[in-house]
Symmetry: D2
Subunit: 338 residues, 4 copies
Amino acid sequence: MTKPLVLFKPAPQLRERIFTEETWNRFNENFEVVDYEAHPDDEDFYRRLPDAFAVVGQPELQAESLHAAESLKAIVNVEGNFFPNIDYPTAFANGTRVLGCGTAYSQAVAEYSLALALDIARGVTREDHAARAGSEGIVSATTADSILFRGASVGLIGYGNLGRAFHTLLDPFHNEVRIHDPWLPQSIIRDTGAVPASLDETLAESDFVFVFATATADSEHLLNAEKLDLLKQGARLILVSRAAVVDYDALLERLQAGRFQAAIDVWPEEPLPKDDPFLSLKNVVVSAHRAGGIPQAFFSIGEMVCDDLELMRDGLPPARMQVAAPELVARYRNKPVG
Amino acid sequence: MTKPLVLFKPAPQLRERIFTEETWNRFNENFEVVDYEAHPDDEDFYRRLPDAFAVVGQPELQAESLHAAESLKAIVNVEGNFFPNIDYPTAFANGTRVLGCGTAYSQAVAEYSLALALDIARGVTREDHAARAGSEGIVSATTADSILFRGASVGLIGYGNLGRAFHTLLDPFHNEVRIHDPWLPQSIIRDTGAVPASLDETLAESDFVFVFATATADSEHLLNAEKLDLLKQGARLILVSRAAVVDYDALLERLQAGRFQAAIDVWPEEPLPKDDPFLSLKNVVVSAHRAGGIPQAFFSIGEMVCDDLELMRDGLPPARMQVAAPELVARYRNKPVG
Amino acid sequence: MTKPLVLFKPAPQLRERIFTEETWNRFNENFEVVDYEAHPDDEDFYRRLPDAFAVVGQPELQAESLHAAESLKAIVNVEGNFFPNIDYPTAFANGTRVLGCGTAYSQAVAEYSLALALDIARGVTREDHAARAGSEGIVSATTADSILFRGASVGLIGYGNLGRAFHTLLDPFHNEVRIHDPWLPQSIIRDTGAVPASLDETLAESDFVFVFATATADSEHLLNAEKLDLLKQGARLILVSRAAVVDYDALLERLQAGRFQAAIDVWPEEPLPKDDPFLSLKNVVVSAHRAGGIPQAFFSIGEMVCDDLELMRDGLPPARMQVAAPELVARYRNKPVG
Amino acid sequence: MTKPLVLFKPAPQLRERIFTEETWNRFNENFEVVDYEAHPDDEDFYRRLPDAFAVVGQPELQAESLHAAESLKAIVNVEGNFFPNIDYPTAFANGTRVLGCGTAYSQAVAEYSLALALDIARGVTREDHAARAGSEGIVSATTADSILFRGASVGLIGYGNLGRAFHTLLDPFHNEVRIHDPWLPQSIIRDTGAVPASLDETLAESDFVFVFATATADSEHLLNAEKLDLLKQGARLILVSRAAVVDYDALLERLQAGRFQAAIDVWPEEPLPKDDPFLSLKNVVVSAHRAGGIPQAFFSIGEMVCDDLELMRDGLPPARMQVAAPELVARYRNKPVG
């Protein structure tokens, strides 16, 4: 049996970041892999496309290229975001699936979100600073604003992969959970045991608010000054996805006024300017877009690619990666990680 | 019906720290409370003891006082540790229960332990420092040693209230959990789904090691140099209870050598000396005995006292506080919080 | 705004079984619904097809009809099984999704499977019979073969909707779970905390074996005499899906010999012949294809239809129903419920 | 080191029912066991009592015998109920613990209770009868009264060992849980995530009502005609503990009228008379006091005895068995299993 042809063109992703040697070997055992990272040659790439079973990467694929790609079963994004350089309608009409690796990061982001929430619930980072600076206070003063996560009210804004992965971590904490996601029917949220809620209710009633919303035209500055003012005095706000969703000027102003605490992983400008005023705030944990990109997450991408392409080679549907929905692929405006 | 007499002498605990106004009112509605914090008068205390239904606090109660205390049903410790200033055998022989409030802190300590573990799993505090210091690295460098908590091997040393409360938080993480507790039969540990293990195995096989052991003659410097050397390279060590269990000189040496990471909440000397060499380590999260003493934990003590004394008044056994075991009450050597 | 046109032709499903009055009203408020159950008229159906937004039901839709159906966004199966009366490739090429309601039954089947397993673990039905027949034994005799579910080894054959819904019910029982599903990569199974296993290992090592496999050419008589002989003496076998997967002659022989116990909900011939030899076995719980079809499950179908068609009307992907995978839709050989 | 002396007098319990050979050997290795089942000799028993470390069994122990038993650390009940043939105050004053093995049955009873609930939720036993009797109905008729357990409202009456063990099984079902237990403060119930409720509210608002109450003077006929009338039409009532708590005449009348369904494991007269009118009811699952007494439960008693006596020999408190509370030991009126 000849091996199916896979064109591998991962940029800006890196091969050695997403494939362990073991997974890379497995990949090459099961497929005839042409590696355009090792041997860049765009002309060759488009010449071979008509024979390809799959493209792994996010190269430009316009209608004319895709029309000729009659054997192409999958375009496998390994970066994490869908870009507008592919003519998705043509791909879908051809029966080519577009697969995304977003779920690779879900557990890492979920755990990081919990880490950030527990940190600002208890002042872990703030008081580590204080101790090192020689300003360790008496214990009861440093814990005066500490609160339990158990039993706290929790709001999730966005209930896609990230929100769902995070939600499973709440099981032991007996929270009252409100979820706002305008892309989902209320029944799905209710079925998880959570309460479907409007954005305003989610912001106003939650002790901890987690932002997991993806960036679209509709969600741009979803959390503006007016919405941020709905937060409870002393609330905890955890921002892990996406900067475009929040008005950072309004956010800064409220944090400077001590209205609430925040842990922030995404920023309008990355890396953060060295004089960014957020850097001097004590009621903020500063994180530099670190929630998802850890070694285990990256290496799971290579495994996902192997798992799903092997299933498809065997006439089965993919089982691990996200199948891009035609309706959504056009909406995302996420920025790639710098 | 006359109300049962309760002698309230909470020092070094404070009344307003453990009783909300609401709970204090409830307490006084149900009992005739003599408040020796408001009106210190030791002579009066011992004079009234023979008529007392309960003592709330940890005053000196020697055999001669207790012999006369024929109605005394409970000595209710509200500090968190049992002290040697009570003649426990006499109390037990009289049918007086000694109740402890240790469980009041369990959830707070459990959540804090998870906060610390997730912090050193992902470098939250370390990279917040780096960003503020203007030395923010590129993301993939700062996450190179980040690991998922899910699926990691976890070791618990000590499986009393703290260990158990913490264990429930592991449910969503699918860890392989080893537990070492020489005071428990293996069946109890196996029944939780965990693996009973020796101290050595727990240290050597766990990615995350949590120390929840209480301080006794047997556990003094349980984690000495030799034992610390069993930890995996890159392991995460979370110390929340008790400093006496660890040889801090040996610990410092290994942390300075970069052998593993640690988050430390208890210290041989508290508050920490300003020049303590632990304060300059990047692979440590420094915390100043902050794990348990938060407002919600303190106020639950007052509720526990009311709940259990009301049950006992009604001829029922206490249900919330810990009933001191004669065998253990003599063993504890815990230091009170400073 | 004109409402999208929906052609409703649910046979052999019934409208009043899957739509409450409330849901039916909601459906008609949001869509122009033409009800071919109330007014059967095939000619009219095919005449309107080119203008339809969705077809709800499983009528014949051959290539020529589908070619003209340019606005058709969804074919919504409300019966539970995909039939070969639709030209799926043409639908997919047109960008028409085929949606299935299989998940509507998942929770009902999962709970019923647990009910059956606990029944044969403890002899509930058998001893109810015995007591009514006046042959109530002494307790310790009737419980001699009773076993705990907690801690038992559990095997799942098939890990689709049913297997997954059932798996969540195992959380409190600390089982060792083996899963055999040849359509899934091992990583997915491992990620749930279960052990991916071969069919033989699953049968040989499990105290309880649950069959959730769908019927395909490959799975016909998957559990034949040889495989059934792998079961432990005294094992518990729970068959809820699908009769074609099992060789019932071989099964009967082994049950008559007392090799193991079984609870059976699916049968080669339904309804069961009155003289079926399975009916006289004491080590069997007999159930007449009752696992999924309960009122709450049926009515959730109507809700799913509304939820997903409303999402699609708003330019969003469906979120509740199963999107048929081209690879699988051709494989299923399930029989409709009689 | 001489082994501590243990006097073993298990009647009416049987040695071989509660000790596997392995556990029995372990017991004899660690203790000098005098076996009065093998060699009955009451005179010898009382003669050796002053030297005994523990008595395992529930023999008569009046004040005069106990006064002389100065070394006696434990009286270990292996039957499951505390009897009035022991002078408990004298034992407690001597520092002798009374240990009970009730928790040995908890998991078995919890699983059985869930089995019964799921059975009457779905008509498992009833329809097995119907199929064997040749009266198998069409599926939708037999499932017309079937309901999901998920999302149902659940009431627990009594929240001791049984109620708590059962409660853990509810985790996957997202129920609204009401708990009525007059021996507990509301805080304990709230802390589990359940709602503390009055008896009336628990009965009136629950789709499934589980009776786990122990029999005391206060709970005699707690569920009388008036209370049973509070149950919803079509409710499911699961009685596993204790017959004295329920007025069976009132219960019968309501079941005959089809007011609700029930699964009953405890009866005022055991074994059930062959002409008991409950035996002819279709809306009842009949069970003959089978919930707890299964081999794994019995054998765990022997293990518990070994575990706890070994701990106590080593100067540690017992960890597995229930320490009898002075307040409660006098209240129980449970009947031994026949």
